[in-house]
Amino acid sequence: MSTTAIPENVKRPMPPSVVHLGWFLLAGGLIVFLGAYVTDARRAAFDNVILLLFLASLAAGSLFLVALEHLAGAVWSTPMRRLIEFLAGLTPLLPLVGLPLLFHLHDLFHWTHAEVVAGDQILQGKTAYLNVPFFVLRFFAVCLTWLLFFWLFTRNSLKQDRTGDQKLTTRNARLAAAFLPVFAITLTVTAVDWGMSLEPHWFSTIFGVYYFAGTALAAVALATLVVVYLLDAGYLPPLRGDNLYSLGALMFAFVNFWAYIAFSQFLLLWYANLPEETFWFMHRWEHGWQVVSISLIVVHFAVPYFALLPQEAKMDRKRLKIMAIWILAARLVDLYWLIMPSFGDSVTLGWQELGIPLVATGLVIVVLAWKMQRHNLVPVGDPKLSRGLDFRL
């Protein structure tokens, strides 16, 4: 068996042109958001929620993938784990992204209006959970929890680069076991707070899982995109299609899982046919939303499903790259479909919404560039690395 040499020190910054592009996109996106906030603060706040949920998906989802590798003792993903840790570096930025929203809670959430709640028995019953102080507390608590685990995971991982201490791997595995239940709760809280409570009368117990399915999918897609790009550009030690296959398979799996959960949510509400539940879907079926709903099925499920079905598709770099970008775009469509019907009855799409992908792309590039400048691109001290580099299906 041939063994790939373990690189001693893999530190290579991103080319300045890409970093500049990242800053440019970020600045452009921020200007768009500023303009949106000045012209129509309520609409900008809804766009901001989409941005927050998208970035939270990428950040927390990346943490989830890191934890998954540690807990499962996965080998195939070890050469790319550091990059996923870089992407989890979006976590510290989440409070900043959410900050403007805390000043627009009144625009976003029906349940913050005291006079409405006073005349609404259902909302009164939910005030124990849906009240502003607890909401803000939850938001910061969730962000801090993720930040804590991000800090612990990466600290151990980076320390291993220098010391090669194998105990750190065990420690991270234990940490991952502690993180996963915490992740489940915090992600559900995020989904319920920022997604479901936009329509405080509506409830779906599967909503948190729905957001999780998208979160994991978005994180895998972003990881695939970054890994394949850096691999093509020669930043990483050569990885085989066998390593990439698992990324493709995970994308395929979570495309299916998302569809499964999305359909489960729909089927139960459709079957029971209770007015207090079905209005949520009716809302997404009228005033032009029908087009968005149907295209969501095509864009988020049918296309990636058939594109990723053959085995070669999960190993081919070019196809993986295209599907990763496609899925990230589909995630935005899904979040748009989830959030925007609460803004107004009809479909609203304009220059204001352009800020979401601009800021998100810009932030990912800037964070990645910053991390790549400072740390190794591969966890060189990890005892699983050599097996990961020689991984065969």
Binding site: M1, D242, F263, F266, L267, W270, Y271, N273, L309, P310, Q311, E312, F391, R392, L393
Partner: protein
């Protein structure tokens, strides 16, 4: 059993790395060879230079077969064979089909793939393989790793293969021969011992099932749940003097709300003597509408025109706007709801007396709406 011609030369190796190396080297020289390991070795297909398996296409075809048959069956049942309204949804409600189509897709894709693998690759029902029952097979299914080259390989030469394996560091090299079945050999399935055990097992299983369902369930403690200290209908009891468990009502009394209907079988009398005790207030009409939509509309239609979905599937329910019904006194309508008429059953147990009268009012409203007078429109 006697030895036949040479089938293959087998070689055993101690480590996965050794067998991986041996597979790669063997692939360079021979084409008719195979590798046996106690567990899957990652990268073996690459070392053996195997093309991607075609099983995936079988799985896809079987999966699609599952989808098509599930959707097809449910479409046929709900549209052709037995159309039925469920929960007010359309006959062809595709969302309800999805879970079943999904399950059948997964089921057929997995089960039939395994069957196809057994039939195509393992050549079922032929279960006689020369490698079975050899030391080689015993070791590669527990703690060693094996490679063998078949004698049918164009480059095969016994000494050459033995030398090849020895150079690769095989710990044991053997020759395996074809098995020639003897003429007298009977299939083991017809051995009297086997048939006897089979018969005994069947009798014991049947007997145990019989005893369980017919005897055991009525023995202590399994009958404790049905053994309750209460009187059952039509059963005797020592508690009462006459030994009858059920008590007749006190003579000359009627339970509250159970006054017998006095016009049984006499619709004309009902029409003549019964008067609607309720006033047609908004509340009464709302009540009547609600009950009408629940109990009457499935046959008579939402507006009483006899145009419900059931029209044509039974003797058609009549319209309530005919001259006959419109000229009936209220009592006759009440009587039909109470007693039923033709195919229509009695609704006496389902609709309370007050509600029946409320429905009568509502039917009157519907009739008036369908045959509005000039003065109503003004």
């Amino acid at each position: 059993m006697t030895k036949g011609p040479l089938y293959a030369i087998t070689a055993l190796f101690d480590t996965p790395d050794a067998v991986m190396h041996a597979a790669g080297e063997t692939a360079k020289v021979f084409t008719h060879y195979d590798v046996n390991t106690p567990y899957p070795l990652h990268g073996m297909d690459h070392a053996m230079r195997l093309r991607p398996s075609r099983m995936g296409f079988f799985a896809l075809a079987f999966g699609l077969l599952g989808t098509v048959s599930a959707v097809g069956l449910m479409t046929w049942v709900t549209l052709v064979e037995y159309p039925m309204v469920i929960g007010g949804k359309p006959f062809w409600s595709w969302p309800a089909f999805v879970p079943i189509a999904f399950e059948l897709t997964v089921l057929l894709a997995s089960v039939l793939s395994v069957v196809a693998m057994i039939v195509i690759y393992f050549k079922f029902p032929n279960n006689r393989h020369p490698l079975h029952d050899t030391m080689y097979m015993r070791r590669v299914s527990s703690d060693m790793f094996g490679v063998y080259v078949k004698a049918e390989d164009p480059a095969f030469d016994e000494q050459k293969v033995r030398g090849h394996f020895a150079r690769l560091g095989a710990t044991q090299i053997d020759a395996v021969y074809f098995i020639v079945p003897e003429e007298t050999e009977r299939p083991k399935i017809f051995e009297p011992k086997f048939l006897g055990v089979l018969a005994v097992t069947a009798i014991v299983a049947m007997g145990a099932t019989y005893v369980t369902y017919n005897k055991l369930l009525y023995m202590v403690p399994f009958n404790w749940m049905s053994d309750q200290a209460k009187l059952k209908a039509q059963k005797p009891s020592d508690l009462f003097g006459n030994g009858i468990g059920m008590r007749p009502p006190v003579e000359g009394t009627v339970a509250r709300g159970f006054l017998p209907y006095p016009f049984k079988g006499k619709p004309d009398d009902a029409g003549k003597y019964l008067l609607n005790p309720l006033l047609p207030t908004a509340a009464v009409l709302e009540r009547g509408k609600s009950k009408f939509l629940t109990y009457c509309s499935p046959c008579h239609g939402n507006f009483g025109s006899g145009d419900s979905r059931l029209a044509g599937q039974f003797p058609s329910p009549p319209t309530l706007h005919s001259d006959k019904v419109r000229n009936w006194p209220d009592g006759n309508l009440y009587h039909v709801i109470t007693e039923g008429q033709n195919v229509m059953p009695s609704y006496a147990t389902q609709i309370s007396r007050e509600d029946r009268w409320a429905i009568v009012h509502y039917v009157r409203v519907l009739e008036r709406a369908h045959n509005a007078k000039e003065s109503d429109l003004r």
